[in-house]
C-alpha cells in the first residue's frame, strides 16, 4: 500500500501544509502534514512506527492508544497537528535496547495476549495507570483498561499481566 502520508504530500497542491515537531519515543521528529492527517497515520505511515494499531477507527476500541505528554490518547481521534510540540510515546518506545519494559514482560509471563492486536494500546494505557497508581487493585486495573477492547482473551490474563508488572516495578523502585 502506498503510504497515505506520501500521498497527501503529492496531492497537497494549494493545500496549506503545516510543519510539526513531535518528540516521538524521545526523539525529535519533524514532518510537513496536511491538517486533516490523523496522528495514528502520521505514526504508522509517516514515521513507519507500525506498532500503533488502528482497530475500529471510530474511537471505540483503544488499539491505537499512545501516550501524549504522558496521558493515554486514541491516536485515531487526534490530528497529527495537535501533537505539535508534544511528547508521544508509542509501543516501540517501551523497551530499551537490551531489556523489555516490565509491562511487556508481564504480558509475556502471564500470557496477556492472543492475537496481539490490542496489546500495544493495552500496554500504554497500563503504563499511564502504573505511573499514577503503582499499586492498583484488580478492580482499578479493570477500570483503567475499560476503554481498551480485546476480542480474544476475556481480559483475565491482561489484568494479571498488569498486576505482575506493577509488582515488578514496585520491587525495582525500592
Amino acid at each position: 500500500m502506498t503510504s497515505l502520508f506520501e500521498e497527501v504530500h503529492e496531492t497537497a497542491v494549494g493545500v496549506p501544509v503545516r510543519r510539526v515537531t513531535i518528540t516521538v519515543n524521545g526523539e525529535r521528529r519533524t514532518a510537513d502534514v496536511e491538517p486533516r492527517l490523523l496522528l495514528a497515520h502520521l505514526l504508522r505511515q509517516g514515521f513507519k512506527l507500525t506498532g500503533t494499531h488502528t482497530g475500529c477507527d471510530t474511537t471505540n476500541c483503544g488499539a491505537c492508544t499512545v501516550l501524549v505528554n504522558g496521558r493515554p490518547a486514541k491516536s485515531c481521534t487526534m490530528l497529527a497537528v495537535q501533537a505539535d510540540g508534544r511528547e508521544v510515546l508509542t509501543v516501540e518506545g517501551l523497551a530499551s535496547a537490551s531489556e523489555l519494559h516490565p509491562i511487556q514482560e508481564g504480558f509475556k509471563e502471564e500470557h496477556g495476549l492472543q492475537c496481539g492486536f490490542c496489546t500495544p494500546g493495552m500496554m500504554l494505557t497500563a503504563k499511564a495507570l502504573l505511573e499514577e497508581n503503582p499499586n492498583p487493585t484488580e478492580d482499578e486495573v479493570r477500570w483503567a483498561l475499560s476503554g481498551n477492547l480485546c476480542r480474544c482473551t476475556g481480559y483475565q490474563n491482561i489484568v494479571k499481566a498488569v498486576l505482575w508488572a506493577a509488582e515488578k516495578m514496585r520491587g525495582s523502585a525500592q
Binding site: R18, P35, R36, T59, G62, C76, T77, S146
Partner: protein, 291 residues
C-alpha cells in the same frame, strides 16, 4: 477514514480564537477535546472550512470554586480532571458521580466538559448534570461576554444557541442553597457506549428540608429532558419515601423514550423511575447519616 480538508489554526488566546471565528463567517468550528468532533469529521458529518484548535489556550484549562461557592469549569477542563478532583468529590456530588461514567477512561483524558455541553448530544451526560444543577454557559464574542442558562443554551439535538463568532469559555454551576447533594446513574451496555438511559439529580438541603432540586434525563428523548415537575415535588420536603416515589413517577412520566436495540420504550421508562428513586433514596439516607 479521513476528514475532508480544512484550514487549521491553533491560537494561544481567546481573543485570537474569536477573531478566527469571525473570519470563518459561520464555516469555522472550535476543536477542544475532539472526542466527538474528530469522529464526526472522519465520518464527514461535519466538514468545516476552518478548525480553530483551542488546546493551546492554557488560560481555559481550569476548574475552581469561587468564594461565593459557584463552580467554574473552563473550556479546556477535561473529564478526567473533574473525575480526579478532590474538590469536586467533596463539594459537587452530581458532577463527581457522572465524571467516571462519561465515555471511557481514554476519551476522558482529552474530552472536555464544556465541549460536551456544546455538542448537545441528547445522550450526553454533562447536559443532564447542567440542567439538574441550573448551570450556565459563559459565551464570549467580539463584543464581550454573556451568560446563557443551559436550558436555553441547547436548542435541539446537536444544536446550541452560540453565535458563529462566540466561544463557550466557561460553564458555571451556581452555589448550592445549603448542602449540595446529588448523584448520577447511567445504564449502558458496556463502557463507552451511549446511555440506554440515565438520570442526574441535584438536591440542595438546608435544615433537613429541600431548598432547591433539579432532575434531568439522558437518552430518553430528542434532547436532554428537564423533569421540572419531579424536581418541584421535592422542594420543601424532607425526602420522605412518599415524596421520592411521586418524584420518580413524575420523572418517568416526562421521559420520551423510543424502542431501539438498547431496549424498549417501556423498559427505559421503568429505568428512569428506578434510577430516580434509587438516587433520591441514597441521598436521603446519606443526609440522615450526616445529620
Amino acid at each position: 477514514m479521513y476528514p475532508s480538508r480544512f484550514r487549521y489554526e491553533a491560537p494561544s488566546s481567546v481573543a485570537e480564537a474569536i477573531a478566527l471565528l469571525e473570519e470563518g463567517k459561520g464555516e469555522a468550528k472550535i476543536l477542544a477535546g475532539g472526542q466527538s468532533l474528530v469522529p464526526m469529521l472522519k465520518l464527514r458529518f461535519a466538514s468545516p472550512e476552518l478548525l480553530v484548535d483551542i488546546n493551546n489556550i492554557a488560560a481555559l484549562d481550569y476548574h475552581h470554586f469561587s468564594s461565593d461557592g459557584a463552580l467554574h469549569i473552563g473550556a479546556l477542563c477535561r473529564h478526567e480532571h473533574l473525575e480526579k478532583s478532590s474538590d469536586i468529590s467533596s463539594r459537587q456530588p452530581t458532577i463527581a458521580a457522572a465524571a467516571p461514567l462519561v465515555a471511557d477512561p481514554i476519551v476522558r483524558t482529552r474530552g472536555t466538559f464544556v465541549g460536551s455541553v456544546c455538542h448537545a448530544d441528547p445522550q450526553g451526560d454533562w447536559a443532564a448534570c447542567m440542567v439538574a444543577l441550573d448551570g450556565r454557559i459563559v459565551a464570549q464574542g467580539p463584543s464581550g461576554k454573556r451568560e446563557i442558562p443551559v436550558r436555553s443554551f441547547v436548542s435541539g439535538p446537536f444544536q446550541n444557541v452560540l453565535a458563529y463568532n462566540e466561544l463557550a469559555v466557561e460553564a458555571v454551576i451556581p452555589a448550592p442553597k445549603g448542602t449540595a447533594l446529588g448523584g448520577y446513574m447511567k445504564l449502558e451496555r458496556r463502557v463507552g457506549d451511549f446511555a440506554t438511559a440515565a438520570v442526574a439529580v441535584a438536591v440542595d438541603v438546608d435544615g433537613g428540608r429541600v431548598t432547591r432540586a433539579g432532575i434531568a434525563l439522558t437518552g430518553v428523548g430528542g434532547t436532554t429532558i428537564d423533569a421540572a415537575d419531579a424536581a418541584a415535588a421535592l422542594v420543601g420536603s424532607s425526602l420522605d419515601a412518599e415524596t421520592i416515589a411521586r418524584a420518580a413517577e413524575l420523572a418517568a412520566g416526562v421521559a420520551q423514550p423510543r424502542s431501539d436495540h438498547r431496549g424498549s420504550a417501556s423498559y427505559k421508562r421503568h429505568i428512569i423511575n428506578t434510577f430516580t428513586s434509587r438516587l433520591l433514596s441514597g441521598i436521603a439516607e446519606s443526609h440522615e447519616k450526616a445529620a
